[in-house]
Symmetry: C2
């Protein structure tokens, strides 16, 4: 994983961070991929490479997410979060395209949020329904993400490095927008261009562990068993030769968003501290910890002196106990507001980078030390709204919702706290 990716094409040399590719060495350049940001990623790639240099390709995007429309690349609209036939069709078309590539071809793989669902590719003879049923059973049985992925990748024709294997011997440059904590290449979009260290045997053991061997569709069990007996090719493993032609770049991530936010804060004169880009846990508790660090800044001038900007990112969790309307970012801001009472000149923003927080039209909310009092004047109890997971109407009444509209991308959430 690279830290700061610089992407440019000058003098017919494409540079992606430390990678440098002479375009003239390639006969053709193709683009495939999937994800909600597919349209803007494709447009950006066309702009940087020059569309005349592109031979074609297609990217699966969510229904209604095909603007801006690229010229040379087909955007295939399909179902999300539930995969559908359009997604299957697009994935199938990519398979055909990738199989035909040769060593003088270059293929860009564009992966962004939602790619797993938008690139459904059950390995024949499995159907989409087979794969979904197996996944559902595992989820309900309490399988963890590693167990789930071990099974899913071995039921797929593209995930777990198999897309890269199909493209071999072409050169593969995978550009990833990460919506996964910690940016693991083998998890983002189910890792179509990343090595997979799990095995068919492991997948079988997972089914056995949850006593699902006889409950999953017969075709699912049969495929895993055949694979474990060596009668099907394994997913490509770390160190496999095909990966010598593959480079994965995380070009957007929570970490990079935090870096950019911190840089903006510094340019405004703030001292900055990025706590973590993998922040997780129960939202209101995470917010409280942030508020207590801010309190230390306000009362003792540490870990930063004012003016200070504290940042973190990731994806917290709301255990819903109430019946209100809101999202984890609005709840973060509300919980922080309660802790912020009495601190002077502080403000907190929590927002989802995709512009959508929970089932609302807001990305998040903004709060300060006077939020609770201002709400009280409007007859709104901050404690009641928090207890009822009802942050949206609370911040709506105050005019403190943050609304950006859909941003077309997702690098999880940002929490930004200022002490002026």
């Amino acid at each position: 994983m690279e830290r700061h990716v610089k992407f440019s094409a000058r003098g017919r040399v494409l540079r992606v961070d430390s990678l440098s590719l002479k375009l003239d060495e390639f006969d053709r350049i193709f683009v495939v991929g999937a994800g909600k940001a597919g349209a803007s990623m494709t447009a950006a790639l066309e702009r940087i490479l020059g569309r005349q240099n592109l031979s074609g390709g297609l990217v699966n995007v969510k229904y209604g997410h095909s603007r801006p429309a690229p010229k040379r690349i087909h955007l295939q609209e399909c179902g999300h979060p539930l995969p559908d036939q359009c997604g299957l069709d697009g994935a199938r078309e990519m398979e055909i395209l990738l199989r035909e590539l040769n060593a003088r071809d270059l293929v860009f793989v564009l992966i962004s949020g939602g790619a797993s669902a938008l690139l459904p590719a059950p390995a024949p003879p499995l159907t989409l329904a087979d794969k979904q049923q197996a996944t559902d059973l595992l989820l309900r049985a309490g399988a963890d993400i590693f167990e789930l992925n071990a099974v899913r990748k071995h039921l797929s024709a593209l995930k777990g490095g198999q897309l890269a294997a199909l493209a071999y011997p072409a050169t593969v440059v995978s550009l990833l927008l990460s919506d996964v904590i910690g940016d693991p290449l083998n998890v983002i979009g189910s890792g179509p261009t990343a090595p997979d260290s799990s095995t068919f045997e492991e997948a079988l053991r997972v089914l056995a562990k949850y006593e699902l061997s006889k409950r999953v569709p017969a075709a699912v069990f049969a495929r895993l068993e055949q694979g474990a007996e060596g009668r099907l090719p394994e997913t490509p493993k770390p160190g496999d030769a095909i990966f010598s032609n593959v480079t994965n770049f995380v070009i957007g991530s929570n970490r990079l968003a935090l870096d950019a936010a911190a840089q903006a804060a510094r340019s405004l004169g703030y001292r900055t501290l990025i706590l973590s880009s993998t922040m997780q846990g129960e939202t209101r508790e995470v917010a409280r910890v942030h508020a207590e660090i801010l309190r230390e800044i306000v009362s003792l001038g540490r870990p930063l002196k004012r003016p200070a900007c504290l940042l973190s990112g990731g994806e917290t969790t709301v255990t819903v106990r109430g019946k209100g309307k809101g999202g984890r970012n609005q709840e973060f801001a509300l919980a922080a507001a309660i802790s912020l009472r009495g601190m002077s000149d502080v403000v907190v923003l929590s927002a989802g980078t995709d512009g959508t927080d929970g089932p609302t039209d807001a990305a998040g909310a903004i709060a300060d030390s006077g939020t609770v009092a201002r709400a009280a004047k409007l007859g709104l109890s901050s404690a009641d709204h928090l207890a009822n997971n009802d942050a949206y109407p609370f911040f709506e009444a105050l005019g403190d919702l943050v609304k950006t509209g859909s941003t077309g991308t997702n690098v999880m959430d940002l929490h930004i706290l200022l002490a002026g």
Copy 2:
């Protein structure tokens, strides 16, 4: 509140931080106070001042907490956490002593953890039972700490600055060990030498708010009503003349303990970051946030580069759902251990500075990235032990409990995380 208190007596000049007192200007020096650390505080004061300079006094301590025994000062053993007659007797004796002081007297007030209960002084004609009943009713009705204190201070003869008022016109130097988040002078030991901004009227309103006016003992309501009518002296308010003779020093606190721990870590070559001395919230969630900050250090070298030491302090809360044995610090270490899996060269310590974590003989526990795996080899599930609030047997089996024995003081908890 002073940041770093230096305390010395040389050439018959006593210096406490910026305060400097010529001992020859005083005819007599007395000592009063209350708290679990009373014995060691008194012994230290005798050592610094020279016991020949002390005229006498007494300090209420908990049963069994009167070692080391001072020479000139009487240590009165009494009940904690339930106040008893011995505590009343000691407080009464202090009142008599304080009333007789004059402008050429100096009195040290030594306050440490448990001082509120160890210095019971219901204002006549109230009884201890009256005061306790009122407190219990308020607690059960859900009164917050500010409401509770407004009432309690107005039922007391010593709390809420009244001890300082009794000592007037003597010079009062109050030395406080804080076991309260944020070290508020008016909350530590119920603020016997700190101004009180609450009023009799406010106390009456609190009773009315919780519909307790008729349910508290008649003598309690009668006193508050008389006070509100101006027929009893108010507690001393901020700016009152008596405070010109009073100086409060927080000589021990979580903040100071964190400073000392950070200094020790720096001397061992660690880069340090103190996050907060007011850390609060659900223990396992707070631990998880700490672990994620450590992960950022390990994976990205920020907010600190290795070797790094992350510190925080305060008092977290465990919502008990299981039936196991443990304490909040052991639970912190257990929750952190689960998040620490896979990080290299990291270790976490969480411990209570009083040496007692929950109803156990341990102060806390220590964990690292291998804790979960080592426990699994012993047949112990970290997830199960966490779910059952059962950290003690988990760490006992691993030999990773931290046992210091009672430290005789309490400045809350310390959380220390290292990335080597």
